[in-house]
C-alpha cells in the first residue's frame, strides 16, 4: 500500500527490488444459476480476492460462498465495485452522475460488508471493476468525474481503506491527493507500451498467452520494477499488486505459474490488506 505520507515501496527503477508483492484476482462472478471460473482454485492461488458485489455479478448467496472460501484460505477480501450493469457484466461505460455513482459504490461496499460481518469477515480494500476501472484511469472529464465519485464514496466510508487502481494512472494520483491509501496494480497477461500504459485490447499482441513468459515477466517486474515493452525497451511499472485471471482453466494455470515463479524466485506473496477475519 502506498499511503499518502510514505514513499511507494515498489515503484521506481533504481530502488532495491521489491521482495513482497500481492496477487489479486476477480472472484464471485457468478449470478444465481450461472457460474464463472473456478473460485476455489483461484483463491488458493492469490493473496487478495476481488469479490463482485451484485452490480456486475455476484448475488448475495454467491457473495457469501466466496467470502467463506476467502476465509478458509486466509485471503484478503476486496469489494469489486461496478457500474449497475448486470446485462453487460460491468464492461460498459454508464454515464452516471457523480452523486448517483458515489451512492452505487457505497451500496456495494456496504452490501459486501454486511455479508462479511455476518460471517466473521471484513473488507480489506476496494477495487473498481471493468468499465469503471478503465474510466477512472483516463485523464478526461468522465474519468475525473467518476474518480471523484469513487473516492468520495470510499473516503466517506473509511478513509483508511485502500483502493486498487491502474499503475501510473491519474486515478492513483487523485486517490493519493484525497488521502486514500492506494495500491498500484500491474496486469500479468498484458503487454505494455514504452510509456508504461497497457496496449489496447484492440491492438494485436495486447494479451499474452504464454504462461511461462508471463510468469517470467512478473518475476522481472517485482525484482526490477520494470517490464519489457512492445518495442523491446523496458519501462518502470509500479506493482504493489499483480492481477491474474481465473475465468478459464487456462487462466487458472497461468495464475498458478505466476505464483510458482514468484515464490521460486524468492518473492514473498503477501496481501497489502489485513486478512479476511474480522478484527
Amino acid at each position: 500500500v502506498t499511503s499518502p505520507t510514505t514513499s511507494p515501496t515498489t515503484s521506481g527503477a533504481g530502488t532495491a527490488p521489491a521482495v513482497v508483492v500481492d496477487l489479486n484476482a476477480d472472484v464471485g462472478e457468478g449470478f444465481g444459476r450461472w457460474e464463472l471460473g473456478d473460485d476455489a482454485a483461484v483463491i488458493a492461488t492469490v493473496t487478495s480476492a476481488n469479490v463482485a458485489c451484485g452490480f456486475h455479478a455476484g448475488d448475495p448467496s454467491t457473495m457469501a460462498r466466496t467470502v467463506r472460501t476467502a476465509l478458509e484460505h486466509g485471503v484478503a477480501i476486496g469489494a469489486h465495485v461496478s457500474y449497475r450493469d448486470l446485462a453487460g457484466f460491468g464492461r460498459r461505460y454508464v454515464d452516471a452522475d457523480e452523486a448517483e455513482l458515489a451512492g452505487d459504490v457505497l451500496y456495494q461496499i456496504g452490501a459486501l460488508a454486511g455479508i462479511c460481518r455476518a460471517l466473521g469477515a471484513r473488507i480489506g480494500y476496494v477495487k473498481p471493476h471493468g468499465a469503471l476501472y478503465n474510466t477512472i484511469a483516463a485523464d478526461d472529464e468522465r474519468g475525473h468525474r467518476h474518480a471523484r465519485a469513487v473516492l468520495s464514496a470510499i473516503g466517506q466510508y473509511d478513509p483508511a481503506l485502500p483502493v486498487v487502481g491502474l499503475a501510473g494512472s491519474v486515478f492513483l494520483d487523485a486517490a493519493r491527493a484525497a488521502g486514500q491509501p492506494v495500491v498500484a496494480e500491474a496486469f500479468a497477461d498484458r503487454a505494455y507500451t514504452p510509456q508504461g500504459a497497457l496496449v489496447s485490447r484492440r491492438e494485436p499482441g495486447a494479451v499474452l498467452h504464454d504462461a511461462d513468459e508471463v510468469a517470467e515477466r512478473m518475476v522481472s517486474l517485482v525484482r526490477t520494477g520494470s517490464v519489457p515493452t512492445v518495442d523491446g525497451s523496458t519501462v518502470a511499472v509500479e506493482a504493489d499488486s499483480i492481477c491474474v485471471h481465473g475465468d478459464s482453466p487456462g487462466a487458472v494455470a497461468m495464475a498458478w505459474a505466476v505464483r510458482e515463479a514468484l515464490t521460486g524466485a524468492g518473492v514473498e506473496l503477501r496481501a497489502f490488506a489485513p486478512g479476511p477475519q474480522a478484527g
Copy 2:
C-alpha cells in the same frame, strides 16, 4: 423493545397503561426517476423511519437522501428488507430458499449500513417489508422457513439489533426464542378481529379511513393496551410501535392526526431504537 430477558413494556391488559410508544412509517420508496409519498412530511411525523434497501424500492441515491432526512429530524433508521421484487414492489411472495433469502436480507442491511456509515448514521432496527412481512407472520411451512432466514441473517449480523414484526404473530415468538430483541407492531388504520389479528384486506372494513377515529383508537391502544374489534368487543394488542402510512396526502394527514392525538393525550412518542447518529 421487548428484549428476551425482560418483560414487554406495553403488552398485557391489566398492567398500567404505557405512556411511551414509537411511530413508524415506510420511507425512501421511490426508485430512480420515480418518487412515492412525501418523505420529509412523514419523517417529521414519526419517530422511526423504515428505509427501503433496493430490493422493492430505494436506489442508493434515494437511500442516501432518506438517511439524511432522518438525521435532520433525529428519527431512528430501520432497514426495510424485502424479497427481490422491484416489479412487484415486494408485495409478491417469492419462494426463495432459506439460505438465499438470508443472503438477500444481509445484503440489504449491509447496503443501507454502508450508506449510513458514510453519512454518520446507523441502522437502529430491521423491519421486513410487504409480502415478506406477511409470510413470516403466518404459522405455516413457508412462514417458518422465511422467518428462520430473516432471523438467521439479523442474528448473524447483530444479535442486539431489534426486529419489528406483527403483534401477536408467530414471527415474534420465533424472534424471541432466537434471542433477538423484538418490537411488536400495531397498524393504525387496520381493523382487528376479536382474536387480535388484522382483518384481511379482502374483507370490507379492513382499512379505516377516518383520521379522527384512527387517532382515537391509537390513544386507546396505547393507554389501555387494547383496541375495539369488528364485532364490538375489545382485544389486547401489543404495541411497541404503531405503523402509519405516508404514501398519499391523506395518509400523511392521518399520520399527523395520530401523532397529535397521542401527544395530546400525554403519550410520549419515542423511538425504541437509538437515534440515527452513528454512536
Copy 3:
C-alpha cells in the same frame, strides 16, 4: 399436437404405437457474460428448441444467436416463458396476480417474436419454464390462477399457437378447454409414479442418470405409450414431445443417446410445430 377437436395421436395404451415424436430442450439460457450449456450441440440433437425470453435467462443478443442456430438446424422455436426472476433462474414461485402474469407472458412471447421476425424466423409454440411450469401443472388455487394467466396471454396472442405442458396435468385439460392446441410432454430422465406423475425431486431415484436406460425407456414410451414406474408396474403417459437436457456435457450425451435409440428403433423425430423459417 393435440388439437381440441382431434384425438391425441400418441396417448393411450392400446392404440397403435406412435412412430413420430418431438424432442425438445431448453436453450439460450445464458445471460450477458454467462453461458449455460452447449446450445449448438443441443440444437443439433432435438427437433424443438425452447428459447429463454429474458425473464429467467436470455438477453436479446443471446436470444438472437440462439434463433440463428435454430434456423441453421431447421429446429422449431418455442418461447420459453418464465416468472420475472433472473436471480432465481425462474425456479422460484412468484405470487403474481393473474393480469400481471398474463402481461409478463405476452411481453416475453412478443420480445422473442420481434427477434425472430428480424431474423426471418417465427415462434412455433410456447412452453412455460421452471416454477411456472410446475405451478400450472398443480391442481390448486395458484395453479388454476396462473394457468388462466398463461392461457389468456397465449390465446389472445394467437389461438392457434401450441402450448407445451406436463403430460396428464390439469394444465393440459385447461388448455384443451380453452381451445388452445396442446402438446403433452414427458421427461426422458425422470422416474414416474404408478399414477403417471413425476417422482418428486426430493425423493431418491427421481432423476435417472444412465443414458442407455433412459434411451430404452423413451423407445418404450413412444412405441407402447407407457413407461416403467418406480414400483415395477407400467403406466400410460402421453408424449407428443420428450424433454431432454443440455446444460452439461453428460446431459448432451444422454440427449444424443435418446435420439439415436429412437431413430434406431424406427421412430421419426419431427417437430409438432412448423419449422423456424417465417412462413
Copy 4:
C-alpha cells in the same frame, strides 16, 4: 412522414405553410407500483403516444393499460425504445456495442408488439428515448454506432416502420439513407439556436415555461416552418411532429394549450402513422 423518395412536407422556409402536424408525448412511464404523469389526460391531447417498453420504464401491465388507453382515443402507438437502464430512466448513456443495442431495440419493439397484438392494436412507429435519442442525434463515433444499431434493428423488423428523430440531426440523414421512413421532431418547450439546434439544458432559458408563448411558437412553426431563436432571429425547423410533455400537471396544461392553439389556427392534428387498431 418523410419517406426516402418524397420531399419533406414541412421543412423549408419558403414553401407553403403546413396545415397538418402530429403531436406526440411519452406515456406509460410508470413501473410496477410507481406511476408517472397522467396518461389518460396526455393521450387525450396528442395524436401519437410513445409507449415505454420496459427498459427505462413500463412493466407489461402498465404497457397493456397504456395501449388500451391509446386504442380508446384512437391515438397512434409508438415503441419508445431505450438503453437498458431502469435505475437511470434511460437518461444515461450506456456504451453498448452495436449488436447488443440492436438486440435490445428489437426486444423492446417485439415486446410492445406482442402486447399490442393481444389487444388488437399495432405499433405505428419507433422513437428512441432519452440518452439514446440524444446519442444518435450527435455526429460522433458513439452516435454513428448507436444510430446504426437502431436503424439495423428497425429495418430488419419492418423497413416500412417510421422512426422519429430530432429535426435536423444526422440520425435523420442516416435513417433516410437506410431507406427507413423518418419523422422530424420539434420540441414545444425548448429554445432553439440560430443554427436550428436545441439550446443545451445546461444553458439558462433552454426550457420554456410559458404555455401561451410555447403555443404561439408552435403555431408559427407549423405555419411558417420556422421558430424564433435565442438571439431574436428565426430559423427553419422541420416538424412532422411536435413533442409535448405530460409528466406534471403543468406539462399537461401546456400540451393542451399547444393543441388548442394549433387547432384554433386551423392546423389539423393528425398522426403520421396509422391508427392504433390492428389492420
